[in-house]
Subunit: 533 residues, 2 copies
């Protein structure tokens, strides 16, 4: 799922979902009707009367670009004075940008350049620095701690939910009728229930995404990704980049690099995969990555169908090699299943005793519909005992409704700017905002075919607007931005033994939210890190 | 100087110097008339009757791409069985190439892609993996040790020669008349002699380049670079890349990663710069990099002219900052001096008490003419006392002659294929080979203007032809190749105290030497590492 909401897919394409209608909407957080998932949000809403409230923490000295004693290593007090980065001395911005770009080149903070013809054919050609923020984004320490604290609880919740086959089947029964993709996943899930398939070793590599709601000051969950959680690698590098820049420019930027939290997502993911391999217990078996495009050393779903087999003892064998762990970097979107081949491969793997990251039930537990079901009263209680834990999770749930809740649907038709319609299907870019929410709801009501089950309604979150400098194609852009924080979680259980259950790094994504006089600009998103305040 | 002979400048341009006439030349090493400096060499000479003599050490198991026990960590005996890499299983080559490209992307083994419009405008855009060999090149351990052993002796020789102003001026007196560039350098040098300028702190970051002569099995010096020695950074990464690949494919490639010598060139260069800064003793002073193009945080010669000044006490101040160390990444080629500005800047720095890497006398000590003078009988003895040291250096001197040695000139007109004519001027690509040697010599004789002093004659070295797989633009190419080994040396002296004098890493460059039936192919060069045998 993470892939669909990736900043890179946004940054290099064009953003089609725009907040067209909410400019005059009343802002009513107590009615919990806002959400800006997928970075398609508050653009026009806050323009042109944008409050200059959101600034990052650059001391005044930076503006003056003052010369400080060269050997001075003690910066003095940790400074939290806030200066608008848009006011930073342009020469200093240039120097920072230059050094950031060099750093990206030297340390592999790179992506394929879609402008390059050759990019994507093989690695190592047509590369460009990843779109990044030049400096870290401020983030309240209390909310950071809150997000970290709930990570293992969400890990556990997913595991518990995944074991409740009835709950998954029941919750998704209406969705099944209108969404062929979810239907196919449920079909595999049913088969596993029928044969009473036991997943002894369970590996979860999740990412829970949050936005800070500006009015309520609440950390609200956007979604929980249980498959293909993206950017653990590049995300870590951005934290390092920002720490390096702050260190390098310590004379001009009075920030403390240690206030950027350590980000070991990629190592923690790798460690979890290795430990899952270890639990599997066959030193000759491999870890297999399932990927989208045709690449080497890794397998596509179609290849797994062609080359895969199941031994009597449940061992998955692909191309002659026993597989201990299957990591899905693909398989989360309908477009990953071109034919029956891919579905057969998915079933084959699910039937095997290989550790799946994720298993079909973990995958289903991460669907929007389940997210919405879990937000209903008394549902969390079905899975968790600890009342504190339940309260902590509930605190970060945004308003979520199914489309058979007519009161909410009517409210959304009246105030469409305060809701987001999210399709059950994953893949990003399909959310419905603003006046389109009204239109879509009215259309569904008229049709009355039950296809409303393919959607949920979510409170539209209006995050803080900040001033950032975003690097794209080598050029720093001063932009008004919104940000989304993803917290990675890793979970590994073998029978009753929980081997790993922890928060495992983070991903900050920052996206342009500005609008021009002539119309809303197509925003782009970058990778970012956080600076605790 | 190193820049001019860089493989990258060759690999991305087109090679203009080709060995057109030597196909039928007799091979007479005892007459010491061969040299293939600058990789413009033995192409047609060894085609099409190329002996399959040169192969690297890949065990037979690789050819069979055999499956080995996955957990086997002990490779067994260190294997030196030699298998032609051109015979490696194509699927294994594909896998190796893929992983090499991923490694390059992740670890910054990258260059700007000249095919990309944006490349070169700012860092971080339009990047492609550096041209590299897929596997290390075999190199005899004895010759490796020999090359390392003479590194500190060459460091010392440069330092001694640089102190003999009379020797430098005298040796270059004829060159001065015909080469305006050397003349300008000598002018600055004269001024320093006049004011009896003392360089208390001397920093040398050299690279001595060698080829292995196939017939004599001698390690012969091609040149000694005392300014802008290139590739300490990327060179180190290639050694790491090769070690990683061998480790990753240990089941298929039975090589010992530890036989690729540790390469810390970039750290050792950085350490030497830091220590020179330390010797200078002003914690507020900076290390300044002099560069070619307009970049930030670094200065061009013209900027130094505009912004630089000399304080009464000899301190160099540029843009308000005292400079402790000047590192020249530019200034070695006439094209770096666009106007009088650049020469004024060079003089200004030379007059200052900043540590220059290199000083004008170090720069001059690295000229071709001085190399040729040092090769004359009894000249080394003028600078070094230790007879062993002298013998070691002399052992790696190729035949070198000035153009006033008429016997040699006549021989070269007769057998032009066994000589290379090298211009005194640096910058690469200007060497004269084959029939052109004859033409050029006859023309100079006819003119009789003394412009023969702008050149030296050098024995043409015929290096071993190897089979390699070279990576360019994401694609592995099986090629017949020749290689050149550069040994870095770092030297730092403060008055009588020698702070550093050591070998400081290496650079292997491998270049296509094949020719097609239709004509000689424009060869390209790649970065390589060595595997000791």
């Amino acid at each position: 799922m993470g892939g669909g909401h990736s900043s890179l897919s946004i940054s290099q394409g064009s953003t089609t979902c725009l907040a067209l209608s909410c400019a005059s909407s009343p802002f009513q957080p107590q009615e919990s009707q806002s959400n800006s998932l997928n970075f398609c949000s508050a653009a026009r809403f806050l323009e042109p009367h944008l409050p200059k409230s959101s600034k990052i923490f650059i001391p005044k000295s930076l503006l003056r670009c003052s010369k400080v004693h060269k050997m001075q290593t003690q910066v003095g007090d940790s400074v939290k004075s806030i200066v608008d980065p848009h006011d930073i001395d342009p020469k200093l911005v240039q120097n920072l940008a230059y050094d950031a770009l060099v750093w990206c080149s030297l340390r592999g903070l790179l992506v394929g350049d879609r402008n390059s013809e050759k990019s994507g054919t093989v690695p190592g050609v047509g590369m460009v620095h990843a779109p990044v923020a030049l400096l870290p984004m401020s983030f309240p320490e209390s909310h950071w701690k809150q997000a970290c604290e709930v990570a293992p609880i969400f890990n556990e919740l997913v595991d518990r939910v995944s074991q409740d086959g009835e709950f998954l089947q029941e919750s998704l029964s209406r969705t099944k009728k209108v969404d062929p993709f979810t239907s196919r996943l449920l079909e595999i899930h049913s088969k596993m229930l029928e044969i009473n398939k036991i997943e002894e070793i369970r590996l979860g590599l999740h990412r829970s995404d949050y936005m800070l709601d500006e009015q309520t000051k609440l950390l609200l969950q956007i979604e929980l990704n249980t498959i293909s959680s993206s950017f653990p690698g590049l995300g870590c590098l951005v934290s390092e980049l920002h720490r390096s820049l702050i260190q390098l420019y310590k004379e001009h930027i009075d920030l403390d690099p240690n206030r950027i939290p350590t980000n070991n997502a990629v190592n923690q993911f790798a460690e979890a995969l290795a430990k899952a391999w270890n639990e599997y217990g066959d030193p000759r078996a491999v870890v297999m990555f399932v990927v989208q495009s045709e690449e080497r050393n890794i397998k596509t779903l179609a290849e797994i169908d062609a080359l895969g087999e199941l031994r009597q003892d449940g061992t998955l064998v692909v191309d002659g090699q026993a597989v201990a762990v299957v990591y899905f970097r693909a398989g989360y979107a309908p477009s990953d299943y071109h034919s029956e081949s891919e579905w057969k491969a998915r079933l084959l793997m699910e039937q095997s005793r290989a550790v799946k990251c994720p298993s079909i039930s973990y995958h289903l537990a991460g669907t929007k519909k389940i997210q919405q079901e879990l937000a209903k009263p008394n549902v969390l209680e079905r899975f968790l005992e600890n009342k504190d834990d339940i309260a902590k999770l509930r605190k970060c749930f945004a308003g979520l409704w199914s489309l058979d809740e007519s009161d909410t649907v009517n409210d959304a038709i009246e105030k469409p700017g305060l809701y987001v319609m999210k399709p059950q299907r994953e893949g990003g870019g399909n959310n419905i905002y603003g006046e389109n929410v009204k239109e879509a709801l009215l259309k569904l009501q008229k049709e009355g075919t039950g296809s409303d089950a393919a959607y949920i309604l979510m409170q539209r979150i209006f995050p803080k607007i900040s001033h950032s400098i975003l690097m794209r194609e080598g050029i720093p852009h001063k932009e008004q931005t919104i940000s989304e924080l993803g917290i990675y979680g890793s979970y590994l259980r073998n029978k009753t033994e929980v081997v790993i259950n922890q928060q495992a790094g983070y991903l900050m994504r920052t996206k342009v939210s500005s609008s021009n006089e002539g119309g809303v600009a197509a925003g782009f998103a970058v990778l970012d890190s956080i600076y605790l305040v």
